[in-house]
Symmetry: C2
């Protein structure tokens, strides 16, 4: 299958590299409003008009990594031209957009995947399979906190996209969705949530915590783009505890038995560019028309967006897409 | 000064050992309803009637480590007999009790200290002094999660004191107060909180999370008596991050500078029995009539109880002391 890309930042470069590591996808084109940026990606075809990309019958799939606030319009336009989509997280800004996009995907008989790269990896599946070892899960803790150099711009009084409500920015939707999507993938939809954030002068959050309440299990998530964390993740149950080094990528999964005191390493060594796994999984799902797999990832996207939307509501974070 | 003890469990044994390590206090008596239990502590005098202890003019201070639900009645009775009190955490079950107890302390010109052993240590003071290193604090994380062998009794259908609402039990007030009191000691009173717990069939929580929202800083706390955790604590700011090994005792305080990447160890090696520090600090405060120090610890006790009370309210945990 032929795939084209939208966006020219580092993440697109990584994705193009990932395409090269799969047998299922061929890098066939790149879109950017400015041709020279797209050319750097090394695509055989360069598109500077989205309509040309949409009209190109040789392109089967489009990877979207434009600024968050552009995802919706671009995905809808391309799906109406029968392109499958893999879209960077956070895929859309609101549940209304997400529902309309999935409806459009169905109507045009295409797939729409959110690029939660950490959910497509072998170690994700190993972690999911290992959870029964801890017995009834009572507590889990997942975080992604990394100081962003763009925060220096905020401190200088600017409003970079990633910290701008106009561009659906903030730590919650940028990094918070890593621990939250992992929790949803592992544990499903929480019964209720509480979210507290530190607001920036730009009108979005710089850091915060969201508790996902599963009734018999509390999952605590943390995220920040204005501080660094060295904390591992943890899933603790009555019979033992699993410690993971990080939510994305997961390189270590250590189970400690409470009863025997024994420790067991459950992770494998993954490919360094973990986007390879999502590229391959999505390509296979499209080729084999795997509706079950598609529905599973779609559920995660829907629940994650419900959570971030509720978290934003509790903290009065309003995106440009909603304010209009 | 002469000190007597109430209670005969492990924690009292530890406290008696701590008394022996200070010069300020002399272990003068032990109270228990059953004399043979008290005798094991090795006190010169044994009391089996609380009135005898109250009437003994040679006793200056009483350490209370009875079941939580008995603290209030015993402390009030003894303070009315002019005894200073150091009472195990959680000191009282409700803010109403706490207010009345502090009023009684003032009326009788005695001190009433809550035994938050982790707040009286040298490493607590070092941690507090080091916080400015991280710059504006944006996120902190503190936890105490330890599987209790008494939970086996709960699983067998019993209701041990520590998991009984009649005895003001549960993980929040038993272990949760360690991270919460440390947060309050370091950062003061939060603007608002959210609490989510896993309820046990006994009617109290087995584990949970409480977010303390300081507006420009989110502090996430976790606690459990039904699972184990291996997570360190963390205080992260814009300029760096402090990692502590545990909330009680604090044995390691490592500062990492975001800018230079350098790490610095700030903890000292403490006495193994860290109750020594609280015994000594309380004795000195009483001897020197240090109202400033007293007021600082009193504030912490008041705020911690407001937090746990609100957390219990949000989760419909009702103690016997309130239900009556």
């Amino acid at each position: 299958m032929n795939i084209a890309t939208i966006g020219t930042s580092t993440i697109t470069e990584r994705f193009v590299d990932a395409i090269g590591k799969t047998n299922a996808l061929t890098f066939a084109g790149a879109y950017s409003r400015t041709a020279d940026k797209a050319e750097k990606l090394g695509a055989p075809r360069i598109f500077t008009d989205l309509k040309d990309l949409a009209d190109d019958a040789s392109i089967d799939v489009v990877y979207i990594a434009s600024p968050n606030s552009l995802h919706f319009e671009q995905a809808l336009f391309l799906m109406k031209h029968k392109k499958h989509i893999i879209c960077e997280k956070p895929m859309f800004s609101t549940s209304v957009e997400l529902a309309e996009a999935f409806k459009t995907a169905d109507e045009n008989n295409v797939f729409l995947f959110e690029a939660f790269r950490n959910l497509y990896t072998p170690n994700h599946d190993r972690l999911k399979g290992a959870i029964e070892k801890v017995g009834p899960v009572r507590h889990s803790f997942l975080q992604y906190m990394k100081y962003s150099s763009r925060y220096d711009n905020v401190l200088a009084g600017e409003e970079p996209n990633i910290f701008s409500p106009k561009f659906s920015g903030g730590a919650l939707v940028d990094l918070g969705v890593y621990p939250i999507s992992l929790a949803v993938s592992l544990f499903g939809k929480p019964e209720k949530i509480s979210a507290h954030v530190t607001m920036l002068p730009t009108g979005v959050d710089g850091s915060g915590s969201v508790i996902l309440d599963y009734g018999t299990h509390t999952c605590t998530t943390m995220f920040s783009k204005i501080t660094d964390s060295y904390l591992p993740g943890e899933i603790s149950g009555e019979n033992g505890t699993i410690v993971i080094d990080h939510v994305a990528p997961i390189s270590s999964i250590e189970f400690s038995s409470r009863l025997s005191g024994e420790k067991e390493q459950l992770a494998i060594t993954e490919e360094e560019n973990d986007m390879m796994y999502e590229a391959e999984a999505v390509a296979l799902a499209i080729e084999s028309n795997d509706r079950k797999m598609y529905q599973d990832y779609r559920n995660v996207s829907e629940i994650v967006l419900q959570i971030t939307e509720e978290a934003r509501k509790q903290n009065k974070i309003v995106f440009g897409a909603e304010a209009e």
